[in-house]
């Protein structure tokens, strides 16, 4: 990244540029969601868009998640290219029937006749003291369902570029964006644009241990890796990026290289993306492991409001550092 010209922007701004570009590039694209227009987007991602693109392209919708997500799916069937925003992932439970029984299923159920080119974006994550009903990490649910492409936007580059590629797919794409990253600044290439949405990415090369993570775990893991480097531990950091279908190759290559794996995930531990990664390593690289794979996950509790309890309920940088130290001592 040092070669090319870069620009420093917030994650919010990166999302915004990607979205704006999509609206400009394709007249069939429109954005629909609660408060995306007049309010400016619950997280100010679409601020100013209503003025720029008008009410036909930027549709405020009533509180009716099943209804408007389903309408987005229908609009996709009808030849449009809808981007549906579910204000936060928490409310997506109300639309889960539409997403699973319609969007993920129609292609198959119709014997291949019907494509459902809908993109569904959802703000996600934990860390703003929003308490139990507003702090879900539903990545594991969506990662379980065949027919969905599921993206987790853990970096600024992906915030800038994943949407463009998602809009080239003919199948439903679910995009997890993270509230806790919105205000964070980072450098991205000046001409950042469409990114592949098939592969996991090695965000940091290392030889001693692989941290596999996604979403808000990525920057936390990178920070932990920097700190661990001071103790001479050279950690590789893999950002899964695509939670469904999962890219096995990148994972296995890393296991074969480092022989030690720690998985970091904010979602609850049981039946999680971590469980799946561990299973794949068990199946594909068991004999390459020096120590059992470990995972740091969300504590299995409805996320509490109080800050200290909330912090304790998801993995923090310090936890990562400590776990890696533990795993390295087990030699």
């Amino acid at each position: 990244m040092t070669d090319t010209k870069t620009v420093k922007i917030t994650y919010r701004e990166a999302l915004k540029q990607g979205l704006r570009e999509a609206l400009i590039n394709n007249q069939k694209v429109f954005l629909m969601g609660e408060d995306v227009g007049r309010y400016g987007g619950a997280f100010a991602v679409s601020k100013g868009f209503l003025q720029e693109f008008g009410t036909d392209r930027i549709m405020d919708v009533p509180l009716s998640e099943s209804g408007f997500v389903g309408a987005g799916i229908g609009a996709a069937l009808g030849g449009m290219r809808p981007i549906v925003e579910v204000m936060t992932v928490n409310f997506s439970l109300l639309a889960l029937d539409q997403i699973i029984n319609n969007a993920a299923t129609l292609l198959h159920m119709s014997g291949g006749q019907i494509n459902v080119p809908v993109v569904i974006r959802m703000n996600s994550g934990i860390g703003n003291q929003l308490a139990a009903q507003h702090s879900h990490s539903w990545e594991p649910f969506y990662a379980h369902v065949p027919g969905l492409k599921v993206l987790s936007v853990g970096t600024h580059e992906d915030a800038r570029g994943m949407l463009a590629t998602a809009l080239e797919f003919l199948d439903p794409v679910i995009i997890f964006e993270y509230t806790s990253l919105l205000n964070i600044e980072s450098e991205i290439p000046f001409d950042a644009g469409a990114m592949d949405i098939d592969k996991a990415k090695v965000r940091r090369q290392g030889k001693d241990l692989s941290i596999i993570t996604y979403g808000p775990g990525v920057y936390k893991a990178l920070a932990a890796a920097e700190e661990l480097m001071l103790s001479g531990i050279d950690v590789e950091v893999i950002d899964l990026r695509v939670l469904n279908p999962i890219d096995n190759t990148t994972i296995m290559n890393s296991v074969i290289k480092t022989h030690r794996v720690l998985i970091v995930e904010e979602a609850w531990r049981s039946v999680s993306v971590s469980s799946e990664i561990i299973s794949r390593i068990m199946e594909g690289a068991f004999f390459d492991l020096d120590v059992p794979v470990r995972r740091l996950c969300g504590i299995e509790v409805p996320i509490p409001y109080a800050k200290h309890l909330e912090d304790a309920s998801i993995p923090q940088k310090e936890d990562i550092v400590e776990s890696v130290h533990n795993m390295m001592q087990h030699d």
Partner: protein, 331 residues
């Protein structure tokens, strides 16, 4: 009453009369054959027959154009046949053959034929309504002048999706015909146990959606009401809610002991069978002869036999192909 009949005359002549009768008889005989094939275990899964309700399918479909979109439920053989989906491809579908309209992946509940703009075959009660709003929205956005017609049962009205969809359709002013087949039961639950207000057409007012109810046992009345509804939609671009009051003569599905209704009630409704009703009228009005009826019955018999033959001759998809149609693998 007399007035009504006169108006009916005006929309019927020999040609149309024969066509309507033919279609209703085709549906009836096709479904009788389906039931037979179910007992022979050629067809499995859930099989929902619309026998008794043929006037609705035929009367409504008659009034739509080829460009209009149709969405239906799991009780959709009649709609599919009336729409002109090939009977052989439907029978083959129920046989699970790859020559079926959904390649054998869908079965009776999931008939699809995009060439006929027939979008299922949806088996989550009420789950297709939001999509129908979206399809109509897509038409509006693309300034196409076709409409979407969405069939559902009176049971579906209790689902939140009905409410959200009516509100969205009205709010966004999309060309959508909400077509309720009120057959008085949702499985074994009578209308009076599922709705606090039982004249369900009254629910349109809560959304400012133009609404009407019609005798769904008379294909001419259905046709007239549908024509009016569709005319309104084409003219105003706004949704319309049409309730067709009808009755299913058969059980809900093949697993139903019909404990919830009296035989006498069924018999009373059979007195209003839409096929004899039309037949008698056409004969009385001198538009057709007994010979015509024989001709139709013979023709239908052959059509149904052809469908069965086609299905019998059909082939099973290779198990190798199991995972086709999960993703389209296209961009």
């Amino acid at each position: 009453m007399e007035d009504k009949e006169i108006q009916n005359e005006s929309i019927i002549d020999r040609k149309i009369g024969l066509e309507l009768l033919h279609k209703m008889i085709l549906i009836r005989r096709f479904e009788e054959k389906s039931a037979e094939m179910y007992t022979k275990e050629k067809i499995r899964g859930f099989l929902h027959l619309c026998i008794g309700e043929e006037a609705v399918a035929v009367g409504v479909m008659e009034s739509l154009t080829e460009a209009d979109n149709i969405m239906s439920t799991y009780r959709e053989h009649g709609h599919a046949l009336a729409r002109g989906v090939d009977p052989g491809s439907i029978m083959a579908e129920m046989y699970g053959k790859q020559e079926g309209c959904s390649k054998g992946r869908g079965g009776s509940m999931h008939l699809f034929d995009t060439k006929k703009r027939f979008y299922g075959g949806n088996a989550i009660v009420g789950g297709h309504l939001p999509m129908a709003v979206g399809m109509a929205l897509a038409s509006k956005k693309q300034r196409q002048d076709h409409i979407t017609c969405c069939f559902f049962g009176e049971g579906a009205i209790a689902e939140g999706e009905f409410h959200e969809s009516m509100n969205l359709a009205a709010l966004w002013k999309v060309p959508l015909l909400f077509l309720c087949e009120n057959n008085l039961y949702g499985m074994g639950t009578a209308l009076r146990y599922s709705h606090s207000v039982q004249e369900v057409e009254k629910k349109g007012a809560a959304y400012g959606v133009e609404s009407a109810a019609v005798n769904g046992m008379d294909v001419l009345e259905v046709k007239k009401a549908a024509k009016k509804a569709i005319g309104y939609i084409r003219k105003t671009g706004k949704p319309y809610f049409l309730v067709c009051n009808t009755y299913r003569f058969r059980a809900h599905s093949m697993f139903d002991a019909e404990l919830y209704r009296e035989k006498s009630e069924v018999e009373a409704w059979k007195e209003r069978d839409p096929i004899p009703t039309l037949r008698t009228k056409l004969l009385k009005d001198g538009l057709i002869t007994k010979d015509d009826i024989d001709t139709i019955e013979k023709k239908v018999k052959a059509e149904v036999q052809d469908a069965v033959d086609f299905a019998e001759k059909g082939t099973f998809e290779s198990v190798q192909d199991l995972t086709k149609f999960i993703y389209s693998n296209q961009r």
